[in-house]
Amino acid sequence: MKFGTIAAMAWRNIWRNRRRTLVTLASMVFGTFLAILMTGMGDATYGKMIDMAARMGNGHVTVQHPMQVQAPAPKRYISGVGALAKQLRADPQVVAALPRISGQMMVAAAGESRGAMVIGIDPTAENEDTLSALGSISEGKLFAADDKRGIVLGADLARHLGVKLGRKVVYTLTDRHGEVFSGLGRVRGLVKTGTSSVDGGLCLLPIDVLRRALGYGPDDATLVAVLAADQRHTHGIAARLRHLENPTRSVLTWHQTMAELAGFIDMKLSGAAFMEGLLMLLIAAGIFNALFVSVMERLPEFGILSAIGWGRGQLFALVMLESLWMALVGLGLSAVVTAWPYWKLSTDGFDLSAKMGEGAEVANMMMDSQFYVRIHPEHLAFIVVAVVIATLTSGLLPAYKAGTVNPVDAIKLV
């Protein structure tokens, strides 16, 4: 008997008990719908968080001195950053490779001084797409390329220091030789992100000014921040870099430079994976129940089919094809049911500001209260495959039962 004939018979069989099939399909569609929306929300939210984290200073991938993580110090810098950045930009998955200097310093005004995190940037190469703080300048603007005195402060830091736009501050830091250096800056802009660590402790300076202050050469920096076109390419870029890099530099991903965020996302993803596993289990249980009952009801029929010459494999295939049809119909209906809500949630998102205000700080980052649903294609493919596997797996026992039916016992049930 041809495969197509058995497949056609399987198709008709799933509609024998229309109500049972529709109830089973409804649970399948509901489970798949939830799995897609949950995964899509996670993909959109965590992807956005990772991109935001990367744009906070270190990039998706960071190239820096090997000891900079364990014992950060001005003397631990890397050289030849211009050539390295150029080489990195040649990678098609890299959108920006930016030499930066990061460290700690004291900022003082008339009667107050505060510790601050300083980032030295090239104002001609940076914008809010490469450094998120630049999109949050609430007052003033970023210093110009030829501005030797320009400095941008976190809004809360400026408030604590009692300075406003145009006022002078003195910053003090230790150079690469361990000598203290003091410089004068004039406040050009204030940053307000809503994140306490940034607003209360960020200080931006032109990278060339910091190079001179720290005693670095014109091609030195503490790091090169690499921004990926898609955060999912982080490991690929890092792997290629590690292959090319020399042992005087280390290549770190955002998982290593933003361990707290990585831990938070891993925890959330584990929870989501557990929930999705439960959904798949529910789908499988629904299909199993429907198929098993259906096979048990048809045992006499399987007995007669076996008697007239159907082989065990053909009976097994018949029931497996019934479960495959259920999977395909269920996925088709899931696509129809999910399409509109998905489109709506991916374009308009949904607003949780009533619950969480304008946003919430997570792992030193502001999370937007507007949530979107945008699933990665590979995750969608995973869900589709998981549904098919769950369905086929749940068909195995009923199919085995049908394939191994004893005609004599089965026909006695007539």
Partner: protein, 231 residues
């Protein structure tokens, strides 16, 4: 081929029902020649259905040998037995004979499909066969659109479609009314007479016994009487 189509030699079948041993057949000897129209009769528990199951290769004897169309069933693998049933034995059961989601023609041609007969050829053969069993024009009807008698006719068409050596019919008239039973018997008798199809029934229906060319009476798993009739 010459010689019997079916031969049972010293066949015993013992079932275990809990702690009790049930002796369904106790040394049954039986031969059925080609073209016979034979009924196995006897009271419930006499071993009629067990004998048919053993002849059909659906069950295995506890002792003794079963030969069908020259094959020793005890020597065949599960696959070979399945192929033998498909190619050389036709079955008609009491009920649940047909697959409800298939049409009359699809049910009737199922064995031909299993044999790999091309679709066009098997459809031609089956439409002609349905005509012959009195179901002309009903090829596309599903079982739930047919009466009980019509369903049994489809089952008979399926049983003879592949021109088997023997058709085994287990109480084929048990679930139909008298008029339908008479029509089914007319049909099977006609097929036996015109096509030479060998029929072996299990029955305790007097109407079937009245039509049979040979009646083998079974009692307690043994042949009590083997009655042949002329014409």
């Amino acid at each position: 081929m010459s010689g019997p189509i079916v031969a049972l030699k010293g066949v015993t079948k013992t079932y275990q029902q809990g702690a009790i041993e049930v002796h369904a057949l106790r040394g049954l000897d039986l031969e059925v020649q080609p073209g016979e129209f034979t009924a196995l009769s006897g009271p419930s528990g006499s071993g009629k259905s067990t004998a048919l199951n053993l002849i059909g290769g659906l069950d295995t004897p506890t002792a003794g040998g079963v030969h069908v169309d020259g094959h020793d069933l005890g020597a065949l693998s599960r696959k070979a037995l399945s192929d033998l049933r498909r190619d050389r034995i036709g079955f008609v059961f009491q009920a649940y004979n047909l697959v409800p989601v298939l049409t009359a023609a699809e049910n009737a041609e199922m064995v031909l499909a299993l044999q790999g007969v091309p679709e066009k050829e098997r459809r031609q053969r089956v439409v002609a066969l349905l005509d012959e069993v009195g179901l002309g024009g009903m090829a596309d009807r599903r079982p739930d659109e047919l009466s009980g008698g019509q369903q049994q006719r489809v089952a008979i068409a399926r049983a003879i479609a592949s021109e088997p050596a023997v058709v085994l019919a287990d109480e084929p008239t048990a679930n139909v009314d008298s008029a339908t039973a008479e029509m089914l018997l007319d049909l099977m008798q006609k097929l036996n007479a015109e096509r030479g199809v060998t029929f072996l029934f299990s029955t305790h229906d007097p109407r079937v016994m009245a039509r049979a060319g040979r009646i083998v009476h079974l009692v307690d798993g043994r042949v009590e009487r083997d009655e042949r009739r002329d014409g």
